[in-house]
């Protein structure tokens, strides 16, 4: 390994621009003559749009135009789509309701855009918006997912009877029912997996420009996958042919899933730019982000786990109602189905599993993937059940887990996933040791002496990353393949550009992808530039989400590097006047085996471009290779997180006093970056469990629409974390990488709630366990400790 190769905690190449304030996020970019877009949004959760009168607004100073949903419809542009078709139990396809970028006829949630005002300054656009008169006829709204499919509930979309998109299932109902009939013990739980607002710190933004001479449109967009945005906006919306639309995702300030999707605003900015022949810029204000960024989670679940007399799990039965919100966002159908229920076996051998999911529309913000996307929900089901079962059975929670762990690989679960490698007990044991689990009872007594309640909770989670084998996801309904592309361009002086279809928005790819090349070619990472996020530079790619950049994106780079090395060896053979088979490439040097003849990397690179010393009829000049890599399986990161917390019974406040994470991510390229991903993921999971709550009132108004109302985790809500690793290589990709981006958010909610319920001595508490909720629960349980 060179000093900057695989496994080195290299400091990040991209940091200098961020710490000096010279990054380029979408809102930092301006185009000559640009106008600002201000969206008019429905203040009602469900309302007919009777008329929109923009006459007075159009005459306001600086106004370039006011466009409505009716005009969008007149221009015959297509709808936004959900790109993954899920089938109901009866084989019928999901009911994807039409979703125009500007609503016409009816608005379906508070925040649904109905018109856009364009003006020279944002202030002018806002002033003019005051003069637009939208006449609404308010309709009864469906807010709670549990009543959405009920008889007599208001209907949101004509094309989706009972407000239902699909009733999906997986597993074998009969064998699972039989397992429950024979069970010696059954643990039951009902809970809500709370709706979350993603809150990437950079609000979404779009800047569209139109070049009338070529008819080309350019979109700068805070997105996690520019190529898919271009494809959808071309092929489905019909905004412009793909070759006339360039999408650039510049520096993007966090995504967490919320910037995967194709949203109305970028589509409208492109449309308006062409209509006005001027650049159009829109940047969300935070209160706008709250009511337009796709939300996460929002499951209501009933689950039961069956055990035999020896404490072995024999069955799992789950029913989940998933809230889709008002429209089906880009990947919304996959989240509560294939990204959720296929992980319900957890780290355990569970011979019989059956899960049903009802996905319903409500008059709320659309719900889609948010860090973890389905896998935190699955982990919560399994890990809460196992923990509660251990309490009911009087078993140590670690021991019950160990007894049921999958120990032989590959392991075919009863819900389609094929676990390829892992050592779950190794992570558990290491976590117990790092955490000083044995010392807990002493620490608990100490807390009690101070009038505090102390609890400890585990989550031994599994996730599926590396999305995904294209043919497999195609069978499951995905509209696209989920391979990744790479190109390695060697310059004549030997420096390298790596092009990837992945996109970084905090992950540090400019460093880790360079480390990969450094390791392979013996170059310094400063000689390697990583290019991404521009559809004119990178031909195609599937973007970054689902912890796929390492497992899939880097695998494509490895394939391209293989080709580069193979060609470079041929050229080196000619330069060194040796047989190709005798050329050995190591540490940046080509050597003729058994001799002292060698050529440095840079000599061969130059030789490739000078092309004087090899027959160009056999070997093309230049050194540049591309590759597409399609994964052969999902990857399965797994680990054990332990949360220890202390509750002040007088205030109900839970303070996390210890956090141990031991994860198996397979090969780690940069441990510093990987640990950072764990920290951030855990923080988001702790936020879900203790702080973050998305509350709608009965009329569909979002009550938690700002940082004054929605509790974002702050520095003093969190502890420092103890992070450890175990390693089993992933056998299905060349580097052995499993992925690390989501693990913390997947493990943390269950670990926190297992600790909270351990401290409180009751299971009857939902997330978020805010001080008020914990305090109220304590009053009900009557388990208050004696004050010291």
């Amino acid at each position: 390994m060179s000093g900057t190769g695989i496994g080195a905690a290299v400091r990040r190449k991209e940091d200098r621009r961020f710490i000096t304030g010279t990054g380029h996020y979408t809102d930092d970019i301006t185009r000559p003559g640009q106008v600002f877009a201000y969206f008019m949004r429905s203040p009602h959760a469900h309302a007919k749009i009777k008329t929109i009168d923009a006459g007075a607004a159009a005459k306001m100073p600086g106004v370039a135009g006011v466009f409505t949903g009716a005009q969008y419809a007149e221009d015959k542009l297509g709808n936004l789509i959900c790109g993954w078709t899920v089938l109901s139990k009866d084989g019928s396809p999901m009911k994807m309701a039409p979703h125009a970028a500007l609503a016409a006829g009816k608005a379906n949630y508070v925040g649904d855009a109905v018109a856009v005002v364009l003006a020279d300054t944002l202030a002018q656009a806002k002033d003019a918006a005051e003069k637009v008169v939208v006449d609404y006829e308010e309709l009864p709204a469906v807010v709670d997912s549990m009543g959405a499919a009920a008889k007599g509930a208001p209907l949101i979309h004509e094309s989706a009877p009972n407000n239902t998109s699909y009733n999906w299932h997986i597993g074998d109902a009969d064998s699972t029912n039989a397992a429950f009939r024979d069970a010696k013990h059954v643990t039951k739980l009902e809970f809500v997996n709370n709706r979350l607002v993603p809150n990437a710190m950079e609000p979404r933004a779009a800047l569209a420009d139109y070049d009338a001479a070529s008819g080309g449109l350019t979109l700068w967009n805070a997105t996690q996958n520019p190529h898919v945005a271009r494809l959808v906006i071309s092929a489905f919306v019909g905004m412009a042919p793909e070759n006339k639309l360039r999408v650039i995702a510049p520096d993007v300030g966090g995504g967490f899933g919320s910037k995967i999707f194709i949203y109305p605003e970028e589509v409208v900015c492109l449309w308006a730019a062409r209509k006005l022949n001027r650049a159009v810029k829109w940047t969300a204000e935070r209160s706008e982000s709250f009511i337009t960024d796709a939300h996460g989670r929002d499951h209501v679940t009933k689950a039961r786990m069956a055990f035999d007399g020896d404490g072995k799990i024999t069955g799992l039965k789950v029913h989940t109602t998933a809230n889709l919100g008002a429209y089906m966002s880009t990947f919304s159908s996959a989240v509560p189905t294939y990204l959720y229920a296929t992980l319900l076996s957890g780290q355990y051998e569970i011979p019989h599993i059956y899960c049903e999911v009802d996905a319903v529309y409500t008059n709320t913000v659309p719900v889609d993937a948010y860090r973890g996307a389905g896998r935190p929900e699955a982990t919560f089901v399994v890990e809460r059940l196992v923990e509660v079962a251990a309490r009911e059975l009087g078993t140590e929670p670690a021991a019950l887990r160990q007894k049921n762990f999958v120990k032989k690989f590959p392991y075919q679960t009863s819900v389609a996933s094929l676990y390829d490698a892992g050592d779950y007990n190794a992570s558990l044991q290491k976590a117990l040791e790092i955490h000083d689990y044995k010392g807990f009872s002493k620490r608990k007594r100490e807390s009690e002496r101070h009038g505090k309640l102390r609890g400890i909770g585990f989550a031994t989670y599994i996730e599926a990353c590396g999305v995904a084998p294209s043919a497999l996801v195609g069978q499951l309904g995905a509209g696209v393949g989920l391979w990744e592309s790479a190109e390695v361009r060697v310059n004549p002086t030997g420096s390298v550009e790596v092009l990837t279809g992945c996109h970084q928005h905090g992950q540090g790819h400019e460093t880790t992808f360079a480390q990969l090349v450094s390791d392979r070619l013996g170059l310094s990472i400063d000689q390697v530039n990583v290019l991404h996020g521009d559809t004119d530079t990178v031909q195609f790619g599937m973007g970054t989400y689902g912890s796929r950049s390492g497992a899939v994106g880097m695998s494509a780079v490895v394939k391209a590097l293989d080709k580069v090395e193979a060609k470079a060896k041929k050229i080196a053979a000619h330069l060194l006047e040796a047989a190709e088979g005798d050329i050995v490439f190591k540490d940046g040097k080509f050597t003729v085996a058994g001799t002292d003849k060698s050529a440095a990397w840079a000599e061969v690179a130059l030789g490739a471009y000078v092309a004087h010393k090899f027959p160009t009829s056999e070997i093309e000049p230049g050194l540049k290779e591309g590759a597409f890599y399609d994964p052969t399986n999902f990857t399965f990161p797994a680990g054990c997180h332990i949360c220890e917390l202390e509750i002040d019974p007088e205030t109900g406040e839970a303070t996390i006093v210890g956090w141990t994470a031991v994860d198996d991510f397979g090969t780690v390229i940069n441990p510093m970056i990987v640990e950072g991903q764990v920290h951030g993921g855990v923080a988001q999971g702790v936020g879900q469990a203790l702080l973050e709550h998305t509350v709608y009132d009965s009329k569909g108004q979002l009550m938690t629409g700002s940082y004054m109302d929605y509790a974002m985790p702050r520095a003093d809500n969190l502890p420092s974390f103890q992070v450890g690793m175990t390693t089993t290589r992933c056998p299905s990709n060349p580097l052995g990488i499993k992925g690390c981006g989501e693990a913390g958010a997947i493990a943390a909610p269950a670990a926190v709630m297992n600790a909270i319920t351990n401290a409180l001595g009751t299971e009857a508490i939902d997330m978020p366990a805010t001080p008020a909720t914990v305090w109220a629960t304590l009053q009900k349980t009557n388990k208050l400790p004696r004050a010291a």
Partner: protein, 170 residues
């Protein structure tokens, strides 16, 4: 530009600037739009997130909460003024890089400006509890704060002895 404008003169990163602005212009808008200093970011609309923190007359200030016209004669320091993009870094910037105190980078300028002010107010040796409590006005969604806390503690120690510290705090 609307007819109704007013003039304001101030010093930004050591340079005198005079601009005509719409009276409702916020300091952050003046910096980002008039002066094209886009390192100062906007992450919320309720003065909660701290992505817009700059120093006004040496004190950390949320630039989304101040009208530009309030700053006649003021001395403003932004992240761009802490160190040149291609020159030596301020010790706090270096500490963020060294300790991986940033991921997406969006909250980072505000975090660094807050941190420099924190050292000015509380000294070079900062314990974790103090740092965490003092960061109540800065939100990061990426890092879980673990490495930001480490970075600020290290940056505080590195700022001992003045240099860029005292210059930034002036």
């Amino acid at each position: 530009m609307a007819a109704n404008t007013a003039a304001v003169s101030l010093t930004v990163n050591g340079k005198s600037v005079s601009v005509e602005v719409d009276p409702r212009t916020l300091l952050v808008q003046l910096l980002r739009e008039n002066l094209r200093l886009t390192g100062t970011h906007v992450g919320c609309d309720t003065s909660q997130c701290g992505a817009c923190v700059v120093h006004v007359n040496g004190k950390a200030t949320k630039s989304c909460t101040v009208l530009a016209l309030q700053l006649e004669g003021a001395d403003v320091l932004t992240i761009e003024g802490l160190a040149a993009a291609d020159g030596p870094l301020h010790p706090m910037q270096e500490a963020f890089r060294e300790n991986h105190g940033l991921q997406c980078g969006y909250c980072t300028p505000g975090m660094i400006m807050t941190a420099v002010d924190l050292v000015r107010r509380k000294g070079n040796d900062l314990d974790d509890r103090t740092i965490r409590e003092e960061l109540e006005g800065n939100i990061c969604r990426c890092t879980g704060y673990h490495n930001i806390v480490k970075a600020i503690a290290a940056g505080g120690r590195a700022m001992r002895g003045g240099g860029a510290t005292s210059k930034a705090a002036e």
